[in-house]
């Protein structure tokens, strides 16, 4: 691990010093970390030169862990203690995980999120993912011999609120400062957009192992705007393997895939996957597998493969056209199609795109790396390292958000494809005379019935003064932040009685749970928890001091002399606390006081920024 850097007392490090910001593609089967070096994004390799880290964690005897390749190698002999594809369990209950019966784990269906019982206790996808994220964080710190300032982590566009929250919790657990969560297709488009530097409309066709995502983005005047998204969270390369496997079994008169034992089924599917990959380069290949102890060797052709999977490719095309229709865009208006995910190596998919758009898709970036590369570019920009005039990303909510109303119907509050951050309020009223409480049920999805949407959170607003039915005015406010995370508040207006509550989705971990996990002795945590939290508070304090000083340097003229002195006093107090206080709470209190004391200054600075933007000035020229 990198050594901590210590600057001379009283001397802040150069505020323009480059910050180490990384992009992380936390994938279902594998994960990558990338960073911008010498002006270009690149994936960071481990000591053995491999950029891909298999998303696998094995809990070994004596409380140890193996992560990545080592875990994968041991998977066959120790399947139940080796968690792979944890992303599929992220923010999910057991019932939500399709095909969990076929997985070799002892699942624990606990409230909040499903867990896997390992020899080291029950682990959730958040903890498993945190191990992977921490491994990538250490890789970056070793590469740069410096602390990682912050990370952009990518999530599938269809990820709902619970899954996003869980991803953020995992990052926090891994000691990463999350600069932003961004959608995977958006990251891919950033990687291509900046690379090509061309303005216009782009479609991102992302076909991974188990999911299909489609996004439409517009790049204009340095702004990346996500116009519409769609897809199918249960369609991917694995389905292509299954279709080929079924077709081969049928041709050889060996029955159906479902009739095989689990072991044989895995065997045949693996053989089919290899054949699929071989058929991307060759027009025919041989497939061999064993059933009932007998070896079978079959010939498979590309034509047979394409016929067996034509329906799947057609489904992706239908979903793609639907997104275009949603956005009222004709295929001719699309400037380029970005291909993401290993499954887009299949020639049939590339040909389908070329036929639909009348131009070959963009494939010059490695489809496995492109998401991490885009995330690295965005992380670099967010950390303030990028040159002025760089891109701004305006993303959208992938799914509608609403409330349950009478009769189990959904009242949509925020429509899908709304640009984030966004907030919307709607007024509701009571149903019965004298009603003093109201149940608020928050759901996500496009269907009319609550039962067909995903339940995100439930809470009760209590203390409504008794009134006749329909007299109360309950304002429910939905807010989605720039990470795509939702918070909901409810408030009774007429009586002047304020009863508001902000919820975190029921699948997300509470701050106490995260703190509890950290205390349980986490592999990535430093041995001494107290030292770690003190260090984090100091880093945060340093960050705030630098940010305030550069704000004062840029816009200090907005302040009266007294105002400036007050802020400088608060800064000095934060500095002193970071230097002298031996415990984090005193530092955090000083940082919070600084935040409160600079609220008006921040508002005034924003005003200036807005006014200059209206006057047509580029914000980077100010």
């Amino acid at each position: 691990m990198a050594l901590l850097q210590i600057s001379e007392p009283g001397q802040a490090p150069d505020p323009h010093q480059r910050r180490i910001a990384v992009g992380i593609d936390l994938g279902t089967t594998h994960s990558l970390v990338a960073a911008v070096r010498h002006g270009l994004p690149e994936c960071l390799p481990d000591e053995e030169g491999r950029v891909i880290l298999p998303s696998a964690v094995r809990y070994t005897e004596g409380g140890g862990r193996q992560i990545g390749h080592a875990a994968l190698e041991a998977q066959a002999e120790d399947a139940e203690n080796t968690v792979v594809s944890a992303k599929r369990f992220m923010g999910r209950m057991l019932a939500d995980v399709a095909g969990h019966q076929r997985l070799p784990y002892r699942f624990v269906d606990q409230p909040g999120m499903v867990g896997v019982a390992t020899r080291d206790g029950v682990k959730t996808a958040v903890e498993v993912s945190a191990e992977i994220l921490a491994t990538l964080r250490f890789r970056a710190e070793d590469t740069f011999d410096d602390d990682v300032y912050g990370a952009v982590i990518t999530v599938p566009a269809y990820f709902d609120d619970a899954q996003r929250q869980a991803t953020k919790d995992a990052a926090q657990l891994a000691g990463l400062n999350v600069l932003r969560l961004i959608n995977e297709p958006t990251a891919a488009a950033i990687a291509y957009g900046l690379d090509q530097g061309v303005e216009g409309l782009y479609a991102v066709y992302d076909l991974g192992g188990g999911t299909f995502d489609i996004s439409l983005l517009r790049l204009a005047r340095g702004v990346f705007e996500v116009v519409a998204t769609g897809g199918d969270s249960a369609l991917g390369g694995d389905d292509y393997d299954q279709r080929l496997a079924s077709a081969l079994l049928q041709r050889a008169g060996l029955g159906t895939l479902e009739a095989l034992s689990p072991r044989e089924r895995r065997n045949v599917q693996t053989a089919a996957r290899r054949a699929k990959e071989a058929l991307s380069a060759a027009t025919s290949t041989t497939v061999s597998f064993e059933i009932d102890g007998r070896a079978h060797v079959l010939e498979a052709t590309r034509a047979e493969f394409e016929a067996a999977t034509a329906e799947l490719t057609a489904t992706t095309l239908r979903l793609l056209k639907r997104v275009l229709r949603d956005a009222k865009v004709a295929t001719g208006e699309v400037q380029g199609v970005v291909m993401v995910g290993g499954s887009t190596r299949m020639p049939v998919v590339r040909e389908a795109m070329a036929a639909l758009f009348g131009r070959p898709p963009l494939v010059n970036l490695n489809p496995d790396e492109v998401v991490a590369l885009g995330a690295a570019l965005q992380a670099n920009a967010l950390a303030g390292n990028a040159a002025s005039g760089d891109l701004l990303l305006l993303d959208v909510t992938p799914l509608s958000l609403g409330l349950e109303t009478m009769g189990g119907l959904v009242e949509r509050i925020i429509e899908r494809n709304s640009t984030i951050p966004t907030a919307k309020a709607q007024d509701f009223t009571t149903f019965k005379d004298g009603q003093t409480a109201m149940a608020v049920h928050v759901v996500q999805g496009e269907r009319e019935l609550v039962s067909e949407c995903r339940s995100l959170a439930r809470f009760e607003l209590r203390g409504i003064p008794p009134m006749v039915a329909g007299a109360a005015r309950i304002r429910v406010t939905f807010q989605v932040d720039a990470d795509g995370l939702l918070s909901v508040a409810a408030k009774e207006l007429t009586s002047g009685v304020e009863a508001a509550i902000v919820v975190k989705p029921s699948y997300g971990l509470s701050d106490e749970q995260v703190a509890g996990m950290l205390k349980e002795g986490f592999a990535s945590a430093e041995a001494d928890m107290a030292a770690r939290s003190l260090r984090e508070a100091q880093v945060d304090a340093e960050r705030m001091v630098l940010a305030t000083e550069s704000a004062l340097a840029a816009d200090g003229d907005l302040l009266e002399a007294g105002g400036r002195t007050a802020i400088e006093g608060l800064v000095a107090r934060v500095r002193a606390a970071a230097r002298d206080a031996g415990e984090p709470r005193a530092i955090e209190a000083a940082v919070e006081a600084l935040a409160e004391g600079t609220e008006a200054f921040a508002a005034a600075r924003m005003n200036r920024g807005i006014r200059d933007a209206l006057a047509g000035k580029n914000v980077n020229e100010i």
Partner: protein
Amino acid sequence: MDAGLSLQATDFALFGLPERFEIDLSALDAKWKQLQGAAHPDRFATETAAAQRVAMQWAVRINEAYRRLKNPLARAAYLCSLHGVDLEAESNTAMPPAFLMQQMEWRDALSEAGTLDGVEALSDEVMASRNATLKSLQTQIDGTASVDWRQVAGTVRGLMFVDKFMSDIDRRVDALS
């Protein structure tokens, strides 16, 4: 400190656009991007918590105004509310008989259309009628010095029915294709 623009400014003032129905959509788009370029939380990722809170508030407000100005119906409804006329979209459903007749004819045509071509022909007809109504809305608002905002509100309510019908058509197109 300079007062400048506040979060309470009207959508039009926030975007520096004249308060009228017809607006330059490409200017709206350009202003939106300029404003978000100044206010978006991504621009403040390395700043203090206070700066991030302010950025969040402004970015939300800018997106709200953009969404309202971009949609002609929402824009017309907003102009009504700026002139003290509430749309009463939920409570006031009184519509002229001719309008209701046409709605019924369209609904019948949609339930009878069995092919994609048939639904798309209907879609074209409804869109043409919608565009003609939008045009008349523009005359009602921008064409006179003394606007009858109650009449405008009535036209907007009618268009809301039409838009609801258009989304039913879209659902049918999805089902048929």
